[in-house]
């Protein structure tokens, strides 16, 4: 091969080079911020999920302050992270970084609704300077129904036969709501309809089973059932 002269160098202090240096700074700053937000979102997701598990524990065994305390600690952690996100976004257009923070926010929303459904101490949403888009809200709600379905099945397993009927009522309303919205929302929302339908079917089936098996009481040894019931109520009172 033959070697030819290399081109003359570009003057590094020309106007073009100067402005591209500023572009470099601007882009790097933006990417760095995006990265920080992705990391915060991951943390929020994980901690929110853990709080949900904590609440399921509380619901199944409401034996006290310990779990509630623990959940308060966790919640504080999540709120701190959310505050960090809010700080990162001060003066920014949040939609610019929406993709980075959306998963974490949805998981958090789900958690906080779950919490307020089951715990009346804490019904008002936490004030933080983050705006939640309706789509994120809907997706959070859809995800919540999955947790509620799990709660319903657990309730039946724990012998609690009121919760399923209440939950089926509530889930049906949400399902009807999603049906009403249908495909007017973005694709992600209509995609959730299918999962939602399945969750609802599980809850409806659970109620059906309760009803069907309940139908047998009167005919078989009715008295016996009543005595058992009294017995157990006594026991329960003894415990509390």
């Amino acid at each position: 091969g033959q070697r030819r002269e290399e081109k003359e160098n570009v003057n590094p202090s020309s106007a073009v080079m100067v402005s591209f240096k500023s572009f470099q700074l601007e882009l790097d700053t933006r990417h760095d911020k995006y990265e920080r937000l992705v990391k915060l979102s991951r943390d929020i997701t994980i901690e929110s999920k853990r709080t949900i598990f904590l609440l399921h524990r509380f619901i199944s065994a409401p034996n006290g302050g310990e779990i509630l305390n623990e959940s308060e600690v966790k919640l504080d952690g999540v709120r701190r992270k959310i505050k960090q996100v809010a700080q990162e976004l001060i003066g920014e257009d949040m939609y610019q970084f929406h993709r980075a923070i959306s998963p974490g926010l949805q998981e958090y929303l789900q958690r906080s609704q779950d919490f307020s459904t089951s715990n009346s101490h804490d019904k008002q949403p936490h004030t933080c300077s983050l705006k939640v888009t309706p789509v994120d809200y809907l997706l959070g709600v859809a995800d919540l129904t999955g947790e509620l379905m799990r709660l319903c099945i657990s309730s039946v397993g724990n012998g609690d036969i009121d919760t399923p009927f209440e939950l089926s009522q509530f889930l049906r309303q949400i399902y009807d709501g999603f049906t009403f919205i249908g495909n007017t929302g973005p694709y992600e929302v209509s995609k959730k309809l299918y999962t939602l339908k399945q969750s609802l079917a599980k809850v409806e089936n659970a109620c059906y089973t309760l009803k069907v098996r309940g139908s047998e009481i009167p005919k078989h040894m009715l008295a016996d059932v009543f005595s058992t019931k009294t017995e157990l109520i006594d026991q329960e009172e003894g415990l509390s």
Partner: protein
């Protein structure tokens, strides 16, 4: 005619076509809105007390079909009658949904399968291709299959609501439907796939009937329901 003149002429054709599609899309959106409202209305039958006011719900739904007819009437005017299949994809989905809604209402009213002719009449369109804006046979069948899975859900929820006779009647109906579909030699892939789902609906309903039978609730039901129906 120069090349650019020719392309200007072509563009005007393309624009006309795009305008038609735009208008169709608008009409279809309105139809979807009505269909969604009807769906929300009829889903009420799954709620505990919903089964009581079935007749009232059906009547309201019938009123909605008035709106649907007006909207379909308007849709028809948006494109030349012989180009149905050119734009079919636009309204295919909503039409299937409307077929389902009509079939559901008719089932709730009379516990019978709506015919293609009857659906067409409810929707104010033709059953017959030659006579104008019509109901494609595959769209009709697709809507009917949706009915089947809705009835499977209804069988479950009827029991929860304490109505033990309905599942038995649904079971008979769905078995008839299943035999009907088995007469068809389906090539259309999406329809065939949806038909495979019917099998699960049949099974689900049979299990409901089983649960009632083993507890003797089916007899109780037949007794009580005789008067109800």
């Amino acid at each position: 005619m120069s090349v650019s003149e020719m392309f200007i002429a072509l563009q005007s054709v393309l624009t006309a076509d795009q305008d038609i599609r735009e208008e169709i899309r608008r009409e279809v959106q309105a139809l979807e809105q009505t269909a969604r409202e009807m769906l929300t209305l009829l889903q009420g039958v799954h709620q505990g007390p919903g089964l009581q006011d079935v007749p009232k719900k059906c009547q309201k739904a019938r009123e909605h079909f008035g709106t649907v007819r007006t909207q379909l009437e308007s849709l028809k005017t948006k494109f030349p009658a012989d180009q149905y299949y050119r734009f079919h994809e636009h309204w295919r989905f909503v039409l299937q949904r409307l077929v389902f809604l009509a079939a559901f209402v008719v089932y709730l009213e009379s516990e019978s399968l709506v015919t293609r002719e009857a659906v067409a009449e409810i929707l104010g369109i033709e059953a017959d291709r030659e006579r104008g804006f019509h109901l494609d046979i595959e769209d009709y069948l697709s809507g009917v299959l949706t009915l089947a899975s809705e009835l499977a859900r209804l069988a479950v929820n009827s029991v929860t609501a304490g109505d033990y006779s309905r599942p038995l009647r649904i079971s008979t109906f769905i078995n008839e439907l299943d035999s009907g579909f088995r007469l068809l030699n389906l090539k259309n892939d999406s329809l065939r796939k949806r038909y495979d789902g019917l099998k699960y609906d049949v099974k689900k309903i049979e299990e409901v009937v089983y649960d009632l039978s083993i507890r003797g609730l089916n007899k109780e039901a037949t007794g009580g329901a005789g008067g109800e129906k």
